[in-house]
Every structure is written in structure tokens, then in C-alpha cells.
């Protein structure tokens, strides 16, 4: 098995993903949390595009287009939820929403 060369875009993707995950775990503002979610998604997209370019096949790029479309819909729903949360409690801080506990 030959060792695959690692491109610089990989490092960017890893950094993006790590940033997204960290933000997701520690930030309290739900809009920021949603944004971190998008960051992680785009890290994955970046790797898909990069490997598709390298292999010279379009399938990864097509998949990315799908992911972006779905992500747009998902963000619309997510923002809708956030808006509703704001209406209920007057804040979008995640710590305010802990009523579902045992």
C-alpha cells in the first residue's frame, strides 16, 4: 500500500472541523452553535471537493452540491427553531433551555 500524499487543503479542513466542534461544544449562543455546525459540514465538503479534483471524477462535487442544498434547508429550520426559542424565553442562550431533564 502506497502512502497517499497529504495536501494542504486537508489541514485546512481539519482545522475547520476542530474549530466547529469546539465552538459547538463551548459556545452558549444558539446561533453561534448553528454556525459552528455549518463549519463542520463545510470541512467535510472541502475534503470531498479536494479528493474529487484529485481523482478527476465529478461524483464528490455533485455530492457537495447536494449537501449544500440540504444544509440550506436545515439552516432554515434551525433558525426557525431559534426564533421560536427566543419568543419563549426572550433569549437564545442555550443554558436557558434545560427544562427537559430527569
Amino acid at each position: 500500500m502506497t502512502v497517499q500524499p497529504v495536501y494542504w487543503t486537508h489541514y485546512i479542513a481539519i482545522c475547520l472541523f476542530a474549530l466547529g466542534l469546539l465552538g459547538f461544544l463551548i459556545r452558549k449562543n444558539s446561533i453561534i452553535v448553528l454556525m459552528c455546525l455549518e463549519l463542520m459540514l463545510n470541512a467535510a465538503n472541502l475534503i470531498l471537493v479536494e479528493l474529487s479534483m484529485k481523482n478527476g471524477t465529478p461524483d464528490g462535487i455533485i455530492l457537495v452540491i447536494f449537501v449544500i442544498t440540504v444544509a440550506a434547508a436545515e439552516v432554515a429550520i434551525g433558525l426557525g427553531i431559534v426564533l421560536n426559542l427566543y419568543r419563549i424565553k426572550g433569549t437564545v442562550e442555550l443554558d436557558a433551555f434545560r427544562s427537559l431533564q430527569g
Binding site: 466542534l21 459547538f24 461544544l25 463551548i26 452553535v33 442555550l94 443554558d95 433551555f97 434545560r98 427544562s99 427537559l100 431533564q101 430527569g102
Partner: protein
């Protein structure tokens, strides 16, 4: 003729449905006339079938499909043969007369439609019982009459005591029925068929069946009979059953239902003929029951209780005859007893009706002037039951006692029966004297009953006089033994036995005993003080008899109380703690586990995500661990 057989059985059912479910009239007369008409129609059908049987000599049979399970094939089979004819005529004939009487007796009742519906339903079930051609069919009728007995004993259910008497009758009968059911199963095991002709045929070539098996089968059937026919040890329900209306006591608990045990044994006599050991048990049980019940009857003051114990005693005599193999004698006594005991009960009912519910004989006396018809019919029935010739009771009792005078224990059985007969004459004389002679000791204003009640009394009294002609002893050369000849196709006459006494001597002793005991009883209780003088003389004995040998108390202590205690233990401890505990254990485990683990659910989305991440990392780690090492 099949149609008439169906009609005979179904007419009372139709009457029951019409009265109880459709019309539900609050007028006693209307309900009573409907009930009586349907019972009478059934009687007419029975007479037609009887005439037909006399002319054609072939029993009418009808059957339809019932159960088909594996090797078991059962039909709803009905057959009107010679034995059924006798029983059907007695049941429908006396049943109709008692229906007629009930119109008068229940004239002030609030729910007459219910009463006549039950009474008709009883007739239907009794007819199913006696005309079924197989044991399961008989059992259906058997249970049906038990149900009607329960319903009618507890007819006035507002009175807790009466309702309890009904329950007692039902439960005690269940014990006997358990034996009966086991007997049916054993019969099927032995014969592979449950129809009576089939069983009678296959018993002739039974090979390799142990005599123990046969005896067990016969004994189980006998246990069923002891329940229904009130023999030791299951007789305790019958005296309590007097809580029901008096016509019910006359019809169900004297004339018909309680004789179905006798009928069962006669019907399956081919089995009992092969098991003389069981026969001996039956004879002893019958004799002892007869004696014990007669002793108790001498010390009861409730007019119906005396008659109830008298019924137990007479049934004991019938079983004595059955045990000795004298099936015709037993059936003969069933017939004569049906007449005079129904007459006695209806007479007692007339007295109770005339005295507005008074049942205590110590508050009666001198009623012969106020109630002449009741008095004369009651007297005739008393003479009949006491066994004074030439009335019906003399012939049937004499035949039973004479039949018992054979075999190794003949003297013992004959002695038991004779002493019971002596006591019967005595307590009936006491009953007659206390009720109708002397001076009136009560307060209610006595009056004679209406003719709708006295006509049945007269019919039954006439029957009590002449029923004996059905089976005169051959030595009289007056009439042939009609009943024996009639039943010859069903009960083959057995050969001559060596008798311990000549027939004339046995008859003479029985007659002398009957006369003496009746005379002594009348002499003792006609005067005001003689009876009480004797009672104080025999005080310890009297206490034992008046308390019925404490049998109810003994049963209460030995069976009922432990049963109740066990039930209470099961209800208060075992069921809520152990059974429910086992059922609830899984749910408790889940509850405790869920409470313990619920601290993990803190409501923070980001905490969940962290846990998810850690979980993912662990999955990742375990999946690549192998590749790394």
C-alpha cells in the same frame, strides 16, 4: 312421535321464556295460568308417548349432532323408553298439579312471572335429565335442575338467610357433581361410549378390566347421586332448602329433583349389578341416612323441617333398595313418595298459607275444624307415608324392606330400614297431632285455602291412596305387579334370592310397627302434656336430635372454617403480596433503574453532544484497535 317427544321437553322451556322474558306480568293469576298450561301440555305429550309406547313397544328416539372431538362423538340423544315413561308421567303430572297449586299459594307474591318461569324451566331441565339417552345429556339436565333449585330456594332473595340456603344447596351439590363428572370420565374410559344402550352392550364383553376400576366408576356415580339425592354425607343442603316457597319444596325437594339420584343409579344399574361391594356401600349409606334423618325429624318443630328430614329419610330407604339391587322397589317408592310427600308439603303449605306464614308447630293445633280439606288430605298422606295398609306407602316400603332381607347383612339393613319406618310413622303422627288436633295455640286467624289449592291436594291424596296398586305383591294374587312387568325391558327381573324371612312375616312386622308407632305418636301428642313429659324424660337424646347431631356445626368447623381461613389468607396476604409482587417486580426494577440513571439527563444539549462525541471516539478506538495492534 319424535315431534311429540320434542314438544314434551320444549313446552316448559317455551312457557319459561314466555313468562320470564316476554310477558313478565305482575298478575299472579295470569302468570300461573300460563305456567300451568305449558306444564299441562307437557303432561299431555307424556301421556301420548306413554300410550304410544304401550301399543308399539318401541321407544321413541330423537337425536341430533352435538360434539365431535377426536375419538369422542356425542349426540343430543333423547329416548322415551319404559323407565323414562314412568319418570316423565310422575314429573309432568305432579309438576302440573303443583303449578296449579302455586297459583293460589303465590297469589300475593310480587314477582309471580319470575316464579313460574323458574318452575317451568325446572320442568324442562328435569325432562332433559330423564329423557336423555347418554350420560352427558343427563348431566346437562342434572346441572339445569340444580340451577333451578338454587334459583327457587333463594327466590325471596331479600332475606339473606334464604339466599344463603340457596348458595349452600348449590355448593354442596357441586361436590357431588364433581364425583359425577369423574364417574362420566371413567365410564368413557371403560366403555368408549356414553350412551346408555352402548354402555349396557359393551359392559357384557369387557375384558381385562380390573374390578377396582368398575367399582371406582360406580362409586363416583354414586357420589353424584348422594349430592343430588341428599344422602350422607351431602344431605345437609336439603333441610335448608326449605327456605324456598312451599310448592318448590314439594316439587323439587320432595317429588322430583331429589329422586334424580335414584333415577341415575337405576339408569346405570347394569354397572352397579357388577359391583356388589359398591352396592353394599349404597345400602348402608341409605339405611344410615334414613335412620339418622328420621331421628332428627322426631325433634323438629318447624313443620317444613320435619317434612324435609322425612324426605331425606325416605330417599335413604330408596338407596337402601338400590344397594340391595331392588331397582323396581326403589322406583316404586319414588312414585308413591312423589304422591304422598308432595301432598304433605302442599298440605303444610296450605297450613302456612292459612296461618299467614306461621311454620312453628308449637303455635298450631286444632286446625282440623278450620281447614277440613287440608286436614283430610294431610291425614291420608300421613297414613300413606306411615306405611299403614292398604295405602301407597305400605306397598312400596314393604317391597323395599322385604328386598333388603337377603344376603349376609340382610338383618342389619332390614333393621335400619324398619327402625326408620317406625320413626317415620311416629314423627308423622306427632306432626299430625300437633298441627290438626288439640287446641289452637297461635294468634293468627286460620282459614281454609282457596279451591285452587285444595283441588291439587285432593288429586295427590287420591294418588297416595291408589298408587300402591301399581305394584301389588304377587302373594296377594289381586293384581299383577304392573310396574315390574312394565319395566321388564329395562330392568331385567333378577332370579329368586334366599330370603331371611317369609314375605308374610316381613309384611306383618312392618304393618304392626306402622300401626303401633302411629298410635303411640297420636296418643302421645294428642294430649297437651304427654309429649312434653316424654321429651323431658329423654332430654339428652332430644337435645342431640333437635340439634341435628351438630352435623352442620361439625361441617362448619372441619370444612367451612378452614376453607374460609385459607381463602382469607390467600385474599389478604398471598394474592396482594406474593402474586401481585411477582407481577410488579419487573416494573419496580425498571422504575428504580430509571430513577438511578436519570441524573444523566440534565437537559443541556451540549452535554449530550459531548457524551455523543466521547461515544463516537470510543467506537472509533475499538474499531481501529485491532488494526493498530
Amino acid at each position: 312421535m319424535n315431534g311429540i317427544l320434542g314438544l314434551m321437553i320444549l313446552l316448559p322451556l317455551a312457557g319459561s321464556i314466555l313468562n320470564g322474558l316476554i310477558l313478565r306480568t305482575p298478575f299472579p293469576k295470569r302468570a300461573g295460568v300460563i305456567g300451568t298450561l305449558f306444564a299441562g301440555g307437557s303432561f299431555v305429550c307424556a301421556v301420548l308417548l306413554w300410550v304410544n309406547l304401550m301399543s308399539t313397544h318401541t321407544p321413541v328416539a330423537a337425536s341430533t349432532h352435538w360434539v365431535d372431538a377426536g375419538a369422542l362423538h356425542l349426540d343430543w340423544a333423547f329416548r322415551f323408553d319404559w323407565l323414562t315413561a314412568v319418570m316423565a308421567l310422575v314429573v309432568t303430572g305432579i309438576g302440573t298439579v303443583i303449578h296449579l297449586y302455586s297459583i293460589g299459594y303465590m297469589s300475593e307474591d310480587r314477582s309471580p312471572a319470575r316464579f313460574f318461569a323458574y318452575l317451568n324451566l325446572f320442568l324442562f331441565n328435569m325432562l332433559v335429565l330423564i329423557s336423555s339417552d347418554s350420560l352427558p345429556g343427563l348431566f346437562v339436565g342434572w346441572e339445569g335442575v340444580g340451577l333451578c333449585s338454587y334459583l327457587l330456594i333463594g327466590f325471596w332473595y331479600e332475606d339473606v338467610e334464604k339466599a344463603n340456603a340457596g348458595i349452600k344447596a348449590f355448593i354442596v351439590n357441586r361436590i357431588g357433581d364433581a364425583g359425577f363428572l369423574i364417574g362420566i370420565f371413567l365410564c368413557y374410559h371403560l366403555f368408549h361410549t356414553l350412551t346408555f344402550p352402548g354402555m349396557a352392550e359393551s359392559i357384557a364383553h369387557l375384558n381385562g378390566v380390573s374390578p377396582w376400576m368398575l367399582s371406582a366408576t360406580a362409586f363416583c356415580l354414586f357420589v353424584g347421586a348422594t349430592g343430588k339425592s341428599a344422602q350422607i354425607p351431602l344431605y345437609v343442603w336439603l333441610p335448608d332448602a326449605m327456605a324456598g316457597p312451599t310448592p318448590v319444596s314439594a316439587l323439587i325437594h320432595a317429588a322430583t329433583m331429589v329422586t334424580s339420584g335414584v333415577y341415575l343409579i337405576i339408569r346405570t344399574h347394569f354397572l352397579f349389578e357388577l359391583t356388589p361391594d359398591v352396592g353394599f356401600i349404597i345400602a348402608v349409606v341409605g339405611g344410615v341416612t334414613s335412620l339418622m334423618a328420621a331421628l332428627i325429624a322426631t325433634s323438629q318443630n318447624d313443620i317444613k323441617k320435619v317434612l324435609a328430614y322425612s324426605t331425606v329419610s325416605q330417599l335413604g330407604l330408596m338407596f337402601l333398595a338400590l344397594g340391595c339391587g331392588a331397582y323396581v322397589a326403589a322406583l316404586f317408592h319414588v312414585i308413591t313418595h312423589a304422591f304422598f310427600k308432595a301432598c304433605l308439603f302442599l298440605g303444610a303449605g296450605s297450613v302456612i298459607h292459612g296461618l299467614h306464614g306461621e311454620q312453628d308447630m308449637t303455635h298450631m293445633g286444632g286446625l282440623r275444624k278450620e281447614m277440613p280439606v287440608t286436614f283430610w288430605t294431610f291425614t291420608i298422606a300421613t297414613i300413606a307415608i306411615a306405611g299403614i295398609p292398604p295405602l301407597a306407602g305400605f306397598f312400596s316400603k314393604d317391597l323395599i324392606l322385604y328386598s333388603s332381607l337377603t344376603g349376609e347383612y340382610g338383618w342389619l339393613l332390614w333393621g335400619l330400614g324398619s327402625v326408620a319406618s317406625l320413626l317415620t310413622a311416629f314423627y308423622m303422627a306427632r306432626l299430625l297431632a300437633l298441627t290438626f288436633f288439640g287446641t289452637y295455640r297461635g294468634h293468627a286467624h286460620a282459614h281454609e285455602s282457596p279451591s285452587v289449592m285444595t283441588i291439587p291436594l285432593i288429586i295427590l291424596a287420591v294418588g297416595s291412596v291408589f298408587a300402591g296398586l301399581l305394584n301389588m305383591p304377587e302373594s296377594f294374587h289381586a293384581l299383577p305387579p304392573i310396574l315390574t312387568d312394565w319395566l321388564a325391558p329395562v330392568i331385567h327381573p333378577t332370579g329368586e334370592h334366599a330370603m331371611l324371612l317369609p314375605e308374610a312375616a316381613a309384611m306383618g312386622i312392618a304393618t304392626a310397627v306402622a300401626f303401633l308407632a302411629t298410635g303411640f305418636g297420636l296418643w302421645l301428642y294428642m294430649a297437651e302434656n304427654r309429649g312434653t313429659a316424654l321429651a323431658s324424660l329423654l332430654k339428652p337424646l332430644r337435645i342431640v336430635f333437635a340439634n341435628k347431631f351438630w352435623i352442620d356445626e361439625i361441617y362448619g368447623f372441619v370444612f367451612v372454617k378452614p376453607f374460609k381461613q385459607t381463602s382469607l389468607f390467600l385474599a389478604r396476604f398471598f394474592d396482594p403480596k406474593i402474586v401481585d409482587g411477582l407481577v410488579l417486580l419487573p416494573s419496580r426494577v425498571c422504575q428504580v433503574g430509571a430513577t438511578a440513571l436519570s441524573f444523566l439527563q440534565i437537559g443541556s444539549v451540549q452535554f449530550y453532544l459531548l457524551v455523543m462525541l466521547l461515544g463516537g471516539l470510543m467506537v472509533f478506538w475499538f474499531s481501529i484497535k485491532g488494526a493498530l495492534i
